[in-house]
Symmetry: C2
Subunit: 361 residues, 2 copies
């Protein structure tokens, strides 16, 4: 499935730039020996790392550019300064031109989304993009979206997210009918914002090919109650970062506890293998790589602060979704939503939750 | 400070009813030997447990009623059926009558808030109540609100939450100038919903006696970046439950890891003391007890599923806030906000985020 795939890499994105990007490509190319890379950025900075990784060198082409988007650039600045010239722009543009099947960048999220929207444009029947990623759960993993591509979403947009997230889950989990839940503050129909109530009504009553579970609450995410958790980008981003913060806190507590006495240190040494396995399970690098859904092309956002292992995971995500032809699956699914606005009684716009800049850092 | 305090207990609330309530009162009365209890509910069910706890018996009075609010009752049903007769109503009414300085219930949150609003009424300068509780952090604990008293909040209401939460933090942490942060999806001023942007503007520009830190993100909660985290009830409830779910998941991972081999089991035994300390630190019962702020009286909500240890923690919270005269501190603080609507340029109502039923279960 991966034969002939080409992935475009923003060689300059992220806190650590080319070193992480090339290191990640090296790890990924062990797992996917058939894929090729187009690497955009400053050749004088990229080539030294590439020379150290002959495996990547042999399947890569560097496309030189002096311009790169900084992690601090606002989307508008990035668009002004990096349009048609920056490594980020060129990587996305390669997807548009059909030279690559997906682009991966560890750069500035807001700039990445702004450029992706300008270059790739929104799919028909999609009003705003959503950032989707995998969330570790007691049952394995779930898809969660929107993790912060935009602020807020009305009922109809949440239904679009549901359709896109469902297609994403089918591809990455290889299951036919993923279950979809709407994140809310109770399971009863009377609770929640107007947006989630309207979305639930549409998902229940409209004849959509989506296996709608109903509302789920915050603790259902980690339980893995559903395969796809749908929420607006404001709530999703806060839930994600709150969860990351709590996991770090518990790990810090655990570390302090294991250092608290001689016996506990000894116990730690004996159980070292188990702690290593636990650390691996909790490693945020393993679930690195969020996909912008709703665009006419695949763009994967890597955490800016990740290392080569994390960047390789983001490349894995790009390879997964590109080889499974996620885009055409989403187009087909969204097509079935196109009659929804007119077929449903009313559509209420959450007018005050304005679309805003992307936020996931 | 606690001398002469009387706490009204809803004897029938929660999944386990009188057993948990009386057991909790017993634990709490060791820590606070001076306080008295008024216990509302079915005397035939309450007295047997009271007989087992002579310490509580000696400082308690049972006020019999046959009527109790069930965990499934909707707020409207509870108000219809339990008005002036239910154990929940009577416990809150004791606060209004001045017979008790605070009420504690493990009952249905929606019903509790509805009754509390009807009986105690909102404070002047408060438009909606907020549920505030302590959140464990790397630096100790922070106050977080609203955890789900209502759905959504506009900018002005968020400023009211900030003032109430700040007063709460002063009392429970015994610090003079707690720092206050607004939960958002980025630290920049351009990001976020209209509500948080407006609230931030007011907190920055208006001459309020609040030490405003600015925006905080989800991971700042567990870091303890600020003493008070302010958000709307929809986001706050989802963040809280998402965090609870993730902590449970990590603990489950840890448990499985420690059972994974003979060596890890041995290590666990050696480090048993450290694991006990960790379990205590992560025990959700320790932070049980959320306070409804914004009402003319103190009502503390205990988790419905907790046990005596958890219920005792909720009584502790009630004793803390009642003995520190939290109410008059909040009234003073809110008074300083009263000129805010007119003094600030504009006030934009989040009209579509309607106040709804309480949600914290």
């Amino acid at each position: 499935m991966t034969r002939g795939l080409t992935i475009a890499l923003d060689g300059m994105g992220g806190d650590h730039g080319p070193e992480t990007v090339i290191g990640g490509a090296d790890i990924a190319s062990v797992r996917h020996p058939d894929i090729r890379f187009l690497i955009y950025g400053d050749e004088t900075k990229i080539r030294p790392f590439l020379e150290k990784h002959p495996r990547v060198l042999s399947v890569s082409e560097i496309i030189h550019t002096d311009v790169s988007v900084s992690m601090e650039d606002k989307p508008s600045q990035a668009l002004r300064r990096g349009r048609k010239t920056s490594s980020m722009w060129l990587a996305i543009d390669a997807v548009k031109a059909g030279e690559a099947q997906a682009a991966v960048s560890a750069g500035n999220t807001g700039a990445l989304m702004a450029m992706a929207k300008v270059i790739l444009r929104m799919m028909p029947n999609v009003e705003r993009p959503a950032l989707a990623a995998l969330w570790p759960t007691a049952r394995g993993e779930s898809v969660m979206l929107d993790l912060g591509a935009t602020v807020g979403a009305d009922g109809y947009q949440l239904v679009q997210f549901a359709a896109m997230g469902e297609a994403f889950a089918r591809v990455v989990f290889n299951i036919e009918q993923p279950t979809v839940g709407l994140l809310n503050i109770g399971e009863e129909e009377v609770k929640g914002t107007e947006g989630v109530k309207l979305a639930a009504q549409m998902l229940r009553e409209a004849d959509l090919p989506i296996r709608f579970h109903g509302f789920v609450e915050g603790d259902d995410i980690a339980k893995g109650t559903v395969d796809v958790v749908v929420t607006d980008g404001y709530t999703g981003n806060i839930a994600l970062k709150t969860a990351e913060g709590m996991v770090r806190l518990v790990v810090d507590y655990l570390r302090a506890a294991m250092r608290s006495s001689l016996l506990s240190r000894l116990g730690y040494l004996l159980a070292y293998g188990a702690f290593r396995a636990l650390a691996k399970k909790l490693d945020p690098r393993a679930s690195n790589g969020a996909v912008f859904l709703g665009l006419n092309g695949l763009v994967v956002k890597s955490h800016g602060g990740t290392d080569a292992i994390g960047f390789a995971a983001a490349i894995d995500v790009a390879v997964d979704v590109a080889s499974a032809d996620l885009l055409s699956k989403i187009v087909t699914d969204l097509d079935r939503l196109s009659g929804l606005t007119t077929s449903m009684a009313g559509r209420k716009q959450n007018s005050d939750i304005a679309e805003s800049e992307a936020v996931l850092s």
